[in-house]
């Protein structure tokens, strides 16, 4: 049964429908692997064992009744980042200040997943309030990269990315404010997509930076990501920033054809600061696209240097306001030492928030304070508009933009926290995508000299998900999916012990 967990989400969904396995089989297999591997990787904050069994039984009934014939992922176990509200299930944002918080409602994406028959098997670890690039700022301890446990999985959705890579779950939800899906996908060697701002309802996503946050999906291939994204996309009357004009049919884009697709590579993305191995992989990927009939060119995107500073001004400003509600009055952590209102606020927040969150809230409060608003916040908004214009211009010439997801592969644990400025700068390729509200996907495209995975980023125009999904799918057909070394080795043991046949690549199941 253990081999089940290596398969793709879609294949599991198909097998359940075909009655080759039951939902319970899939859930059992998955929970078994979590029990075995999660003590090492720590992808989860909460594992929902009992709830998953209950859901399995319920979903099986609905499947048997034919209610879920149109849901290809019905019955497939999945995981949700711990900043997405789940009714009655702890949702902590990996923060002490929400260590015991149980939402009284389900996020819109959770409602949609439940309706589609998803089995939520747990809530994944993350950087506290999604602030960080390593999942080390979690109050509940760091997640380790399944490729090398001395390395970080990336962040902030590190738990979701690592869980998918470690086969602890078939697919997962993350959130992406400045690269928090794409960068951990890149570090963990999996696929992660952040859709256009407004595609997925943010209702129930505990906000970090409202104008940048989007929920997206992780999978071991683009097909799983696309199908899952289709489930959670769509207009929501509860989110005024969700769009109603688009239809979101991503599975249609799962076609191996990039002939004539115009791909631009910003020269600015290949300059100083980019690790040589990463650069090589990206150029190799460009060659593969070229060989499949795409038109690939380098071009100047400009304004790249301003993306990181303007991102941190906007994101921190919004965060300073969004996180003010955590004050110990209504829910979550409440300082016992406090006397009087001012102390309740001060002690609760001093004790409840970690350093990275405090740093960003202070930056945010500063850039919004009177006398500095114009010099910082307003200027950042102007830069944001310029960055958006730059992309619009590029998309007059190209269908998609190709580049690295991150300048380097996964750093070792502890390395980034000692130098936050360096950590911020490593977001250089991802943050401008959020500032412009564009869709982007990170897919594995090789490994560096240390054996760590490298990710490439495909950026689309607004609501151009189908182009980047098609390009990702097409690229996938030309490369093998690589599993983390330790996990691949374990698979071989399973084979030698005479279990089921080896399925080395989920891609082949499709």
């Amino acid at each position: 049964m253990k081999d089940l967990v290596k398969m793709s989400a879609l294949e599991i969904g198909r097998m359940i429908k075909a009655k080759e396995i039951t939902v319970l089989d899939a859930v059992k297999a998955q929970l078994e692997v979590i029990k075995q591997r999660d003590p090492e990787y720590h992808c989860f904050i909460t594992v929902l064992e009992e709830e998953a069994y209950a859901q399995a039984a319920e979903v099986q009934k609905r499947i048997d009744a034919g209610e879920l014939d149109d849901s290809p992922l019905a019955g497939v176990p999945m995981a949700v980042k711990d900043n997405i509200c789940t009714k009655g299930v702890k949702t902590t944002c990996a923060s002490k200040i929400l260590y015991n918080f149980e939402p009284i409602y389900d996020a819109t994406v959770i409602e949609k997943l439940k309706k589609a028959g998803a089995v939520i098997i747990g809530k994944t670890n993350m950087d506290e309030f999604a602030m960080g690039s390593t999942t080390e700022t979690s109050h509940f301890g760091e997640t380790k990269n399944p490729w090398d446990t001395s390395c970080v999985p990336g962040g902030s959705s590190g738990g979701s990315a690592a869980a998918v890579a470690a086969e602890e779950v078939f697919y997962a939800l993350g959130s992406d404010t400045g690269g928090s899906i794409r960068q951990p996908a890149s570090y963990c060697g999996v696929t992660g997509i952040k859709p256009t701002y407004g595609t997925v309802s943010r209702y129930g996503l505990i906000a970090y930076a409202s104008s940048l946050d989007q929920i997206g999906t992780f999978g071991r291939n683009i097909s799983d990501c696309a199908v899952a994204l289709e489930v959670i996309s769509g207009h929501d009357a509860k989110d005024s920033t969700s769009v109603s004009t688009e239809s979101f049919q991503y599975t249609k884009a799962l076609v191996d054809d990039v002939k004539g697709l115009r791909i631009g590579i910003p020269k600015d993305y290949l300059g100083a600061g980019l690790e040589e191995d990463v650069k090589e992989s990206i150029l190799k990927a460009a060659e593969i696209f070229r060989s499949k009939g795409a038109i690939v060119e380098e071009f100047e995107l400009h304004s790249v240097d301003y993306a990181v500073p303007s991102y941190y001004v906007v994101a921190c400003a919004e965060a300073s306001s969004n996180l003010s509600r955590f004050d110990g009055v209504k829910y979550g952590y409440h300082s016992e030492k406090a006397e009087g209102l001012q102390e309740v606020y001060k002690n609760t927040r001093s004790e409840g928030f970690g350093n990275e969150v405090k740093r960003r809230m202070m930056i945010g409060a500063f850039v919004l304070s009177s006398g500095y608003y114009d010099a910082f916040y307003n200027k950042a908004l102007k830069v944001r508009a310029i960055i958006n214009d730059g992309f619009q211009k590029a998309f007059e010439k190209y269908d998609i933009i190709l580049g690295p997801t991150a300048p380097e592969t996964a750093p070792t644990l502890g390395e980034s926290l000692s130098d936050p400025l360096k950590m911020y700068l490593s977001d250089i390729y991802t943050v401008s995508v959020n500032l412009a509200g564009l869709p982007a996907v990170s897919i594995p495209c090789g490994r560096d000299s240390k054996g760590l995975p490298i990710g490439m980023q495909l950026i689309g125009k607004h609501f151009g998900e189908n182009e980047i999904i098609r390009a990702a799918y097409s690229f996938e057909q030309s490369v093998e999916y690589e599993r983390p070394t330790a996990i691949a080795a374990e698979g071989k043991e399973d084979k030698s012990s005479g279990n089921q046949e080896e399925k080395s690549s989920p891609k082949k199941e499709d």
Binding site: Y203, G204, Y345
Partner: protein, 478 residues
Amino acid sequence: MKAYETVIGLEVHVELATKSKIFCGCTTQFGGDPNTHVCPVCSGMPGTLPVLNKQVVEFAMAAGLALNCSITQKCKFDRKNYFYPDLPKAYQISQLYLPICRDGGIEIETAAGKKTVRIHEIHMEEDAGKLVHDPWEDCTLVDYNRCGVPLIEIVSEPDMRSADEVIAYLEKLRLILQYLGVSDCKMQEGSLRADINLSIREVGAPEFGTRTEMKNMNSFKAIARAIEGERKRQIELLEYGRKVVQETRRWDDNKDTSFAMRSKEDAQDYRYFPEPDLPPIEISDEWLQTVKVRQPELRDEKMLRYEKEFDIPEYDALIITGSKHLADLFEETVALCGKPKEVSNWLMVETMRLLKEQEMEPEAISFTPAQLSALIKLVDGNKINRTVAKEVFEKIFKENVDPEEYVEKNGLGMVSDDGLLRSTIEQIIANSPQSVADYKSGKVKAMGFIVGQTMKEMKGKADPGMVNQIVKEMLDAL
């Protein structure tokens, strides 16, 4: 003492009469058990998002149009950040940079004459909750029922110079808003709240003096007292060579004095920035036009129409249109009974008398047009006489009785039973030989005694015309 001038500007908060709150579907109803009119959105639960109630925008536009403002067709919301337990998100969604209405004004009239008070802006925002101190447990509790109730804040220019002008401005404002139906403007329930910005300067001085902001007045009378108190306090400071400190003060109407709440130095930096959860509001020409067309008749137009259409005196029209509730009552009753002058009389005389006696505002009148109309029909149909009608009206006013039922139950109907009247009068004539003799000797006035005795005997319920006629007939026949 030097001659001083008082300079006053007002910030008026008005709760809008929408059914649901500004950013969620919860009811705006006043009262209710604590925290029963709340949902995840208005209680600020993590992850929730605001969705704008369109009715709020339309009410704000209607107010702006009636107050002669220009409408900002591309406006947006901003966040005002501050910590307080009655504000569960720790920010209030308000408007700073692009308020929905700007540059308006209304004309007011006082004993000093007519003048225009300019309106700087009107912006939309959400109300906060309420803190309740529990003396038993010695702790403070929060009630979020008012959280998210829509407000507009109407900010005037510093154009007023006396309490009289302020009251005239507020009365006019209240009437306009009530006529528009955008708010009930009940100060007691907090649906109209005015903060007073007041400063003093020597007459003729080119610059304004340092101003204070006064909060917490819950009636027009309290506002007038607060203005007078603050004016005196500031003049005294200046006379003693001291300075007015820019600060926010809290009026205590029981103590007839104010207390400093916070000075400019403690003023909070609200760190306003555009609300990212709400897209900008685009008010199309068509939408604006729809609201314009829907604007109801306001007081001045109504007065003219009453004089013309119903032929009632200007003074009556002035009084009746002085309250939206009274005007509605008038029109609806006229529609039911078709007797505008009768209706006007009942409102102008008996209603006003009872309001004064009970110390009530016209808004608190609880009887219905149907009740008043029924009463008028009873009088008109000679079912009761005027004396009885007044008694019945008082019952309607105070106890909301059904007039027909009440008259029936208490036997107040006019006696027009010919036989009964005749036998009663016969008896009285027999017992009043002196009066009969006087009448017969040519003193016609003596008949009055017989009539009076009859009415008394009939407990006022006899038809006076009939009594007169029968008495005369019977006396003449003797």
